[in-house]
Subunit: 329 residues, 2 copies
């Protein structure tokens, strides 16, 4: 395993309560629930990006707590997201609320959220880092509200611009912007303004590619249910594009299917919609847009990293930025 | 309105996004959801206790952020609790997830949680105060796990000691211990050890009285559904006591009713159980135990406050401690 991945995962797991030290058995179960998603691993792209960015700036000695904390963020927010979307799988295994009753999973997410702050506080993280975490949670929650409310209210009057605003808030900020800013702040420097502009574009490209993989990825590599976004009725750029170009009858049928909650959709309906979308070229167009966004953002960020003191770390960081948008799974 | 209540509520509301400044309408809705429980008011007992304790120690100039933050804690945790218990009402109005779809309410709770930390961070709260917040959230979540798992798993093999451990974690720490400790820490002093011991006893008495009021309170004053604990199948001290003394047939019927989820219970079943419990004397015994615990804890805490520099504030603080356990609603 990548050395940095191992270091971050160890820091994450060490911050969590241990089932064998929990005392009574119910608290052992609780500790196990907090460890369930972190234990499943993950690529830790955001955590690694924090450390490599700090190192590129010349000082990663204080970066590990922020790296562990952004991974803890990712874990608690996924527990809650999976409940909100009623998702089936996470990292190739059942979502936490499908292993335990939903109320216990919700509560475990809150416990994990507190651990995230504890890691930062115990490390004596400086105020700007704590502010960045408040920013990233508030931004993500506002984007999650957009995403959820569109599905829950059966909204179809959405444009590509609507999707992009939602994704910037919901995913791009914490994926593309926050890790770079946290890296710079951990090194004691002011984050470069390009981190906010180009970082947001790169994070947006990351999410569009995630949407693409959700429809045409390989299940084992992707680790989540294929076409899960259709089952959950997500308003992705791909779906918005497909609907805008579909014939009236197809659009009507597609909207009817999407309006149904997961449990009322049939596999045949989802398969029909999946096939229509793949045939429409909307996935290909979304992938092309993501690639264009990613190329422009990467060029700008590589330019920033080229001016930083530790060029070995800078190269590793930009390689990771590239991996964010070049993943095939 | 009490001057302190007004000051704390203003600080809480000022920390929250404003619907009219949110930009798009969905974000206005989100901002409104964050403000919904804080807007409903509440007695702000914990927040006031933070400020009065700091003042009794001689310096409340830095106490308002911690006071606002503990009220924000109370608000986000209640949003999530109400979902976990599928409660009907909060502060005399529908629970948030009954006004909006559950996923939106869950997400709003997370947004409010982030605002709680932002208030502390923007105020430059010292590390010990941030640690105290991490402690109180972790403690509360572990107690919530006990409470929920007992109900969800249909457990009846519970003793009074089990209940007391659950309540210490779930409610007594953040109600009886944390406000006193936060007050001392805000004044720049080390919290008195009695805050942890006697504070926990007082907080336990507070919760037992809450359980009593749930069964024999006045609906309008209590602000929650009467007998809601029976609908939700809560393992209270009162219930554990009742079951331990009930005849075999009554116990069997009671357990059958309690095992059913809310939507499968009938009003007649709950009314029968409610009546049996009231007739059993278990409520009266619980109230007496709470009064004994409260009296001993209050005596110890009054003794501590008697030695503090600002005696006017000390008197106000101990009056508030008394109000915690003497409320009739």
């Amino acid at each position: 395993m990548n050395q940095l991945v191992e270091t971050i995962q160890r820091a994450v797991l060490e911050a969590l309560p241990r089932p064998e030290q929990a005392g009574r058995s119910e608290l052992g179960q609780y500790a196990g629930m907090l460890r369930e998603y972190p234990r499943r691993g993950g690529k830790m792209l955001r955590g690694r990006l924090v450390i490599l960015t700090a190192r590129a700036y010349g000082d990663d000695t204080a970066a590990l707590p922020a790296a562990a904390a952004i991974e803890l963020f990712q874990n608690w927010v996924l527990i809650h997201d999976d409940i909100e979307d009623d998702s089936e799988e996470r990292r190739g295994q059942p979502a936490l609320h499908r292993l335990y009753p939903m109320p216990l999973a919700l509560n475990a997410g809150d416990g994990l959220h507190a651990v995230m702050w504890r890691v930062l506080v115990e490390a004596g993280a400086r105020r700007k880092i704590l502010q960045e975490f408040a920013n990233l949670i508030e931004t993500t929650a506002s984007g999650q509200h957009l995403d959820l409310s569109w599905t829950l209210e059966g909204r179809f009057d959405l444009s590509a611009a609507d999707y992009l605003e939602m994704v910037e808030r919901k995913a791009a900020y914490y994926t593309g912007v926050a890790p770079l800013r946290l890296g710079a702040l951990s090194a004691g420097t002011l984050p470069h303004p390009a981190f906010s502009g180009a970082g947001l574009e790169l994070g947006t490209a990351f999410q569009i590619i995630d949407d693409v993989l959700n429809l045409e990825g390989d299940h084992d590599a992707y680790g989540k249910e294929i076409a899960g976004d259709l089952w959950e009725g997500k308003r992705t750029l791909i779906l918005i594009d497909y609907l805008s170009k579909a014939g009236a009858a197809d659009r009507k049928r597609a909207e009817e299917i999407l309006r149904k909650p997961r449990e009322r959709k049939t596999a045949e309906e989802v398969a029909w919609l999946h096939e229509r979308i793949l045939a429409s070229g909307a996935v290909r167009r979304a992938r092309r847009l993501a690639e264009e966004k990613a190329a422009a953002a990467l060029a700008e960020l590589e330019n920033v990293f080229a001016g930083l003191p530790d060029q070995e770390a800078a190269t590793a960081a930009t390689r990771l930025l590239r991996a964010l948008v070049e993943r095939e799974k």
